[in-house]
């Protein structure tokens, strides 16, 4: 290349502008890269790099045959990768690769415009995958970046300095923000998540399961993912009462617990006692119908579209695929199932024959010693406490067919599921109705928002035992071994040598805790007000302003948009008009003299201020003392241009309060 730096290679696009466009394209595509197959990321980056090189070397663009072949190949590659060319992932993959290929045919200004609008469109597709706060921030930046390209490509001559285009782009986006907000609030909502797609539901999520085998919950503990947030009305109950009820397991095959309980639809026989606890739960999507509530829930105040099972669980009518919020009322003191039906008793004492014989034998021995139910229960807990049982996240693997025996008599190291499983087995073997309950225990109070966050790491399993006159009583055998797990949190229950992954060491630093709490609070508010803004919330929110029904909504939308545009126009108009200091004087003068209007003393349009004041004083001589200095300041400011008089005039204008006659 003889002249390496040669400006204005083509009539429609400066090299510098093209390079900026490519940089912006990379920025816009970047979040998608992780979601795309590797071949596509490589191909897209290769095309972009080639285009940058080609622009500097003045290559001629490939012929339409080559371009057509490339497009077909891209189609084929996407189809091979995904088995389809539409849908969330495949569709985006196709869009991204085609956007990159568009670079090979930027022959005219029109193509540049197409590229710009493609980039805007790609921006919006990010919402299909993530609606977090940071996504919004990133995409706003991307919108500014794309807008700078739009400005640049419409600018003839030498490229503008980056600072100028960034400034203009930022201003344009900032000006669009109020409109965006208006549209967000007023545009009619359809049920369902804002960006959710059906195919989105297949993605795997960790969480409680409808079965429990040894090690399941321990694996869950390693997930820092949020399960739900709880906002209590008033004070929260103590930590050791925060048992969030999840799946209840009745059926045991000797190794694995599963639901298999009585039919759901029977009413939950519970007598509520004591003071209620009221709270609102914001539940992350868990793709099940499980809602979480404290024991025991008040069935007369259930959230909409929910029911309570016979074993006291709260269930939604349909799978929870979007974040939902619901209110519930619970009574920490209650009497559940004072009478146990034979069927339930049978289900709650059933054990698989010939499994875990040692445990069964132990329980039967206790029974033979003449212990009653309560004493037997205490004996079992005492055993966990007295013998060398350890609470650990990394228990030895129980591989045999009798894991309860293995745990109770050999390893003696376990986690909540081991303890609850073993305890429930012992109770059943002694003929006491018992069941395993899973859910979450505890929660961390957010110091900023005052609400509680419950994470997957708070997952827990405990037991319930039916005692005569006491009904189903919650017994947490883990609490017998590691009281801190229940009283405080997980970390305190584990030994010092068994550290949790970094993210779980919540108390490691004050600052970290503060920052984390703040960030969680921001996310909670974001979820609550932005992502949860569906038809329900919209109806409620707008209802406060008397906007009801879609007619009102459309009207409000149109009025708001017109008002916003009008306001914007007015501001622009005002900008275009000269701003003058004397106009402030006029405003203050009018404010003051308007107070004379009540007495019929109104300055005529053609009447000069001095003549007006003379006329006023003629009628109201007592005003001369206050009106004359006001007039002097006004004239000095408006007709001599003495800007220093403004403060005095303000004071005089405010102080001018003629008495009505």
């Amino acid at each position: 290349m003889s002249s390496p730096i040669k400006a204005a290679v083509s009539s429609y696009l400066h090299v510098a502008t093209l390079l900026r466009l490519l940089a912006v394209l990379v920025f816009v595509l970047a979040p998608h890269m992780a979601r795309l197959p590797v071949w596509e990321t490589v191909a897209v980056l290769a095309v972009i790099a080639w285009r940058a090189w080609a622009a500097q070397r003045h290559f001629t663009m490939p012929s339409k045959w080559i371009r057509g072949a490339l497009a077909l190949a891209a189609f084929a590659a996407v189809y091979i990768s995904y088995g389809r060319i539409n849908g969330q992932h495949a569709g985006v993959a196709l869009l991204v690769v085609m956007a990159a290929l568009k670079l090979t045919e930027m022959d005219q200004r029109r193509d540049v415009m197409v590229m710009v609008f493609l980039m805007y469109f790609v921006c919006s597709t990010h919402f299909l995958f993530s609606q977090e706060l940071w996504t919004l921030v990133y995409l706003l930046l991307a919108a500014v970046a794309v807008t700078t390209v739009l400005i640049e490509s419409n600018h003839a001559g030498e490229p503008l300095p980056l600072k100028v285009t960034l400034g203009r782009g930022g201003r344009l986006v900032a000006q669009a923000l109020p409109l965006m907000l208006l549209m967000f609030i007023l545009f009619p909502r359809v049920p369902g998540p804002l960006w959710g797609l059906p195919s989105d539901a297949g993605a795997s999520r960790s969480g409680l399961s409808d079965r429990m085998a040894p090690g399941d919950i321990a694996a869950l503990i390693l997930s820092d993912e949020l399960a739900f947030r709880v906002d209590f009305d008033g004070d929260a109950p103590p930590q050791n009462q925060l048992y969030w009820r999840g799946p209840v397991f009745w059926d045991f095959d000797g190794r694995e617990w599963s639901e298999g309980g009585p039919v759901y639809t029977a009413p939950y026989p519970v007598q509520l006692q004591g003071a209620p606890v009221r709270y609102e739960v914001t539940l992350e999507p868990n793709r099940t119908t499980w809602l979480f509530a404290l024991d025991a829930i008040d069935q007369s105040q259930l959230p909409p579209d929910s029911l309570v099972t016979v074993d006291g669980r709260l269930l939604a009518n349909k799978s929870i695929r979007e974040r939902i919020a619901y209110r519930a009322v619970s009574h920490p003191r209650y009497l559940a199932a004072p009478e146990l039906s034979d069927q339930h008793r049978r289900m709650a004492t059933r054990l698989p024959g010939n499994r875990n014989p040692q445990a069964v034998a132990l329980a039967q021995r206790w029974r033979a010693e003449g212990m009653n139910d309560a004493a037997l229960m205490q004996t079992a807990l005492q055993m966990f406490r007295d013998q060398q049982f350890f609470y650990t996240l990394n228990p030895p693997i129980l591989e045999g067919g009798n894991p309860v025996d293995e745990f109770l008599f050999t390893t003696k190291k376990g986690f909540c599921e081991h303890y609850s499983s073993a305890f429930t087995t012992l109770m059943r073997a002694a003929g006491i109705p018992a069941r395993v309950v899973t859910g979450y225990q505890g929660g961390a109070r957010n110091v900023i928002g005052g609400y509680y966050t419950v994470r997957q790491s708070d997952a827990h399993a405990w037991s319930e035992v039916w005692l005569r006159d006491k009904g189903w009583v919650r017994v947490d055998p883990t609490g017998a071994v590691a009281p801190n797990r229940v009283e405080l949190n997980l970390q305190s229950a584990l030994g010092a040598d068994e550290a949790l992954p970094f993210a779980f060491r919540r108390s490691s630093s004050q600052l970290f805790t503060q920052l984390e709490a703040r960030w969680d609070w921001v996310n909670a508010e974001w979820n609550r007000w932005v992502l949860a803004y569906g038809p329900e919330l919209q109806k409620e929110f707008l209802g406060r302003f008397g906007i009801e029904g879609w007619r009102d909504l459309m009207l409000a939308l149109i009025v708001a948009l017109s008002a916003a545009t009008g306001l914007f126009g007015l501001i622009a108009l005002r900008r275009a008009m000269p701003v003058r200091i004397e106009d402030d004087a006029l405003r203050l003068w009018r404010q003051a003299t308007a107070r004379l209007a009540g007495d019929g003393l109104i300055q005529r349009p053609h009447e000069g201020p001095q003549v007006f004041v003379a006329r006023v004083i003629e009628q109201r001589p007592e005003l001369a003392a206050t009106l004359q200095p006001l007039l002097a300041s006004y004239l000095a400011m408006r007709y001599v241009g003495d800007t220093s008089a403004i403060a005095k005039l303000q004071q005089q204008s405010r102080g001018f309060k003629p008495r009505k006659v």
């Binding site: 053609h606 007709y639 001599v640 241009g641």
Partner: protein
Amino acid sequence: MNLDLHRTLDALGTIVLGKERQLKLALTCLLARGHLLIEDVPGVGKTTLALALSKVLGLSFQRVQFTSDLLPADILGVSVFERDAASGNSSFRFHPGPIFSQVVLADEVNRASPKTQSALLEAMEERQVSVEGATRPLPDPFFVLATQNPADQIGVFPLPESQMDRFLMRLSMGFPPRAAERALLLEQDRRTLLQELQPTLTPAQLREAQALVGKVVTTPALVDYLLALIEATRRHPGLKQGLSPRAGLALRRAAQAWALLEGRSGVIPEDVQAVFAAAAGHRLIAAERERAAPTAEAILEAVAIP
């Protein structure tokens, strides 16, 4: 300075009775370096006003009675071939006309032929006279006070519209009020009193005052008012044409002079209103000959002060 101007006004008031407003406008006109046209019937004190002005300001005064046979040379002056007695050399020597005087009273200016009129008006505008190839500056201050009889009298050449524009103001003296006229009749002859009148201002002081006029502030807000007035005359259906840009400048200058006379450092709308009739009235031309032009007062009332 203001005190001197007020003393000047007071002194004038002892001669020209009951005409305070006209006196003040005349002084305003002088301060603004404009020329004054007084349009009125004979015998209402036009000449007395001119004499009194020149006397109190200590200015030289010449009076030219315009007649139909008056020639430009009669005003501007003429070069005469004459012999210098001392050296014996003969040469043309310029004899300055009455225009070479600080205050010139052009009496009944509409009786002269247009040619003579235009000679006067050009001198007024240029403030210099070109006679026989030589340009001679006129004295400073230079103030022409022209009088004209109303056009309905016989044997007059009314000043053309374009020439009217050369005068900053046009005034009408009007008959004196009864009390003033009574005093006029009872007291001494005005001409005698004039002789006794002492100058209150030196020509240098007058020039200083004239220089101050341009320093009186006109804020954008006031200019807006001036513009509103000018635009109103241009849009008015009763007027053939509105005020010209030159008229606008004249109006502003007159208002500045008035404000100075009032002792203000900035022009207020009232100042504009005070001079508007005098400074703009003679420049407004009725759209139809038969109908009178709307009065300046009517325009003032129709325009709101912005």
